[in-house]
């Protein structure tokens, strides 16, 4: 509430103090139509988390989270999600630029393709990746034949699966930022003698940095939680391809309490990382 004069709650008749300031054009009444759904929305997001906290086996928590398997899965998750984000940035930003700034034929089609991984079940994505990059896949068989390189069941496959499902978040986010950016700054740079690459790196990128940051955070978060494509394409082997979500799923089969512990660890770590990043971005902006 931002009103200067407090009001009695509810529908009680309002007795106004004599006005000493200019009348406000907007009343400070709480917009229940917005606040109620917002609170429901927050509860919906928070309650499952609260449920986990209640069910967590607190006495054995310390011992459980320092188990080597847990730490290995956590480390693998953090490192692969970060690698996937870096890869997504390297390929996703230029792709977003192509979609936002150029008019190549079939651009609409390509944009639709970019969103496909958001729509299809990740497991299907994993099968698709196997069919392309697997040992007998369209491309994979040549990787195997020429370079002796097989991707499935390696940490690289985990990263690839994560990039597949997470990169669209980055591309969409950055494309939106590029579309929202004032193109006249790019024109100004051109009149100063900057070529297109210089304009992109020195003017456009800094302008859309908040959008890239937001996209990277989304991308990282999605990669961290990735399950279906990973287990299908990369398999599940502790220390090599078993990320936290896979560990959670496996634990669920035998020991739901262990699954809760793992989920909490994953949640806590991601919250810390996201909060830190957010702080940085907000301060930088």
């Amino acid at each position: 509430m931002t009103t200067g004069t407090p009001r009695p709650p509810g529908n009680a008749p309002v007795v106004r103090a004599p006005r000493t300031r200019a009348p406000r054009t907007r009343s400070g009444r709480i917009p229940w139509v917005l606040v109620v759904p917002a609170v429901v929305g927050v509860l919906f997001l928070v309650l499952p988390f609260a449920g986990m906290l209640v069910r967590a086996p607190w006495p054995t928590m310390g011992a459980r989270i320092t188990e080597p398997d847990v730490l290995r899965a956590l480390w693998l998750s953090l490192s692969t999600a970060t690698a996937a984000t870096v890869v997504s940035l390297v390929f996703g930003i230029p792709l977003a630029w192509m979609l936002a700034r150029t008019g190549f034929p079939g651009r609409r089609f390509v944009r639709a393709l970019v969103t496909v991984p958001l729509v299809i079940p990740p497991v299907v994505g994993g099968v698709a990746l196997l069919m392309v990059l697997g040992r007998n896949g369209l491309v994979g068989r040549y990787l195997d034949a020429w370079f002796g390189l097989t991707l499935p069941f390696t940490p690289a496959a985990v990263v690839i699966a994560q990039v597949f499902v997470a990169m669209p978040f980055l591309v969409i986010s950055v494309e939106g930022a590029l579309r929202g950016a004032d193109r006249r700054y790019e024109e100004a740079a051109a009149t100063l003698g900057a070529d297109r690459v210089t304009i992109f790196t020195r003017v456009t990128l800094p302008m859309v940095l908040p959008g890239i940051g937001a996209g990277a955070v989304l991308c990282w978060a999605r990669a961290l939680g990735e399950f279906g494509a990973t287990i299908t394409f990369a398999g599940n082997f502790p220390g090599t391809t078993q990320t936290m979500p896979l560990a959670v799923y496996m634990a669920m089969q035998r020991d739901p309490e262990a699954a809760v512990v793992l989920s909490l660890v994953l949640l806590l770590v991601s919250l810390v990382v996201l909060a830190t990043l957010r702080e940085r971005w907000v301060n930088a902006a």
């Binding site: 100004a188 740079a189 051109a190 009149t191 100063l192 003698g193 210089t198 302008m207």
Partner: protein, 362 residues
């Protein structure tokens, strides 16, 4: 520095020779522009007239559908923006927010291949010249409007352009700072030895800053000339309104000009100072018009009975719009208005001395 004498320089000394033809949907721009070295040319016109399109075409930011751009004799018609010898100051300056003022100015030299140190040295020199040394490390958002304008100018000049383009350089400033900033800009532009083309919709900017003015309406140049000439002898009602003159078209018949437009008691006539024959334009300022409750006696040769159409405040004067023929505006003092007791629909006598009337060929 500032060329005097003939309004247009001789063809062989043109530093800028451009024929700009752009067709975009219903809009057609067809403008020829020339300028001598060191000259400041203002493109003056209403919004949507095509002045900014002309500027963008000169910069290479908008493609030409026809015409040419010659700079110092070299054909730049098809040169890419980044390779044209131009500098541009944009309407709201468009300084790069993520760079300091110094880095903004150093950006161009860096793009042209200067080392970081060289570029910064040149930028520092230019900022110093602009009186901005103290603000070299400032971010654009920390600068005042006038300072931002000078940084933008320094940035445009840092690439040593042969053609300097200014797009509404005063539009982003508030009225209180405009006079100072305009004077300062004039001073800074005088040091530039290339051609400057300036776009504005404000006649005052054009008058103060430019050596010559080209008035653009609906994609065409309707009048060219030195500021004083344009201010004294407008050729279109738009220009007349801008410079604050009453303008009429007519036909000279000796010391009288018969105005266009039919009226119940025959066309209105204006007596002029010097005899004139053939199509003519007649102009006089509103303050030259005197109003009388009855037909005045005396030497005033132009007297018309007119109806009051509207009254508005105009500076410390009152502007009375009168319905004719001829329809005109008169500026009188509030005291005179009170004395006359005018209100809308009243009739009044208006007189203008022939010596106040400018008459020139149409």
């Amino acid at each position: 520095m500032r060329p005097t004498g003939p309004a247009a320089p001789a063809p062989d000394t043109f530093a800028l020779d451009a024929g700009l033809r752009v067709r975009r949907g219903d809009f057609t721009l067809d403008v020829d522009l020339t300028a001598a070295p060191g000259e400041i040319l203002a493109l003056l016109g209403p919004n949507g007239a095509g002045k900014s399109s002309a500027l963008r075409a000169l910069a290479g930011l908008a493609p030409l559908t026809g015409g040419h751009v010659l700079l110092d004799g070299a054909d730049e018609t098809t040169t890419a923006v980044e390779h044209r010898p131009i500098g541009m100051v944009f309407q709201d300056y468009l300084l790069f927010e993520h760079m300091s003022a110094l880095d903004n100015v150093a950006f161009g030299p860096r793009c042209q291949g200067a080392s970081k140190a060289e570029a910064r040295a040149r930028a520092a020199e230019l900022l110093d010249h602009m009186g901005l040394t103290a603000h070299a490390r400032s971010r654009p958002r920390q600068l005042s409007g006038g300072q931002a304008q000078r940084v933008a100018l320094a940035r445009a000049l840092a690439v040593r352009p042969r053609l300097l383009l200014l797009d509404e350089p005063m539009a982003a400033l508030d009225a209180s700072t405009r006079i100072d900033v305009r004077a300062r800009l004039r001073h800074l532009l005088e040091d530039f030895d290339g051609v400057t083309v300036l776009v504005t919709h404000d006649p005052l900017d054009a008058m103060v800053l430019a050596d010559r003015i080209a008035v653009i309406e609906s994609g065409r140049v309707v009048q060219r000339g030195e500021p004083a000439e344009v201010a004294r002898r407008p050729r279109t009602s738009y220009v007349a309104r801008l410079v604050g003159l009453n303008l009429f078209q007519g036909r000279g018949e000796g010391e009288t000009v018969v105005l266009e437009g039919a009226a119940p008691d025959g066309p209105a006539r204006v007596a002029v100072r010097e005899p004139h024959r053939g199509p003519a334009l007649v102009a006089f300022p509103p303050r030259a018009v005197a109003l009388y409750p009855e037909h005045p006696r005396g030497s005033t040769r132009n007297v018309w009975r007119l109806t009051v159409d509207g009254i508005e405040r105009f500076g410390d004067q009152v502007r009375v719009h009168l319905d004719g023929p001829p329809s005109l505006a008169a500026d009188i003092t509030p005291a005179a208005l009170a004395e006359l007791g005018l209100s809308r629909g009243d009739t009044v006598w208006a007189g203008v001395k022939a010596s106040e009337v400018e008459c020139y060929p149409a």
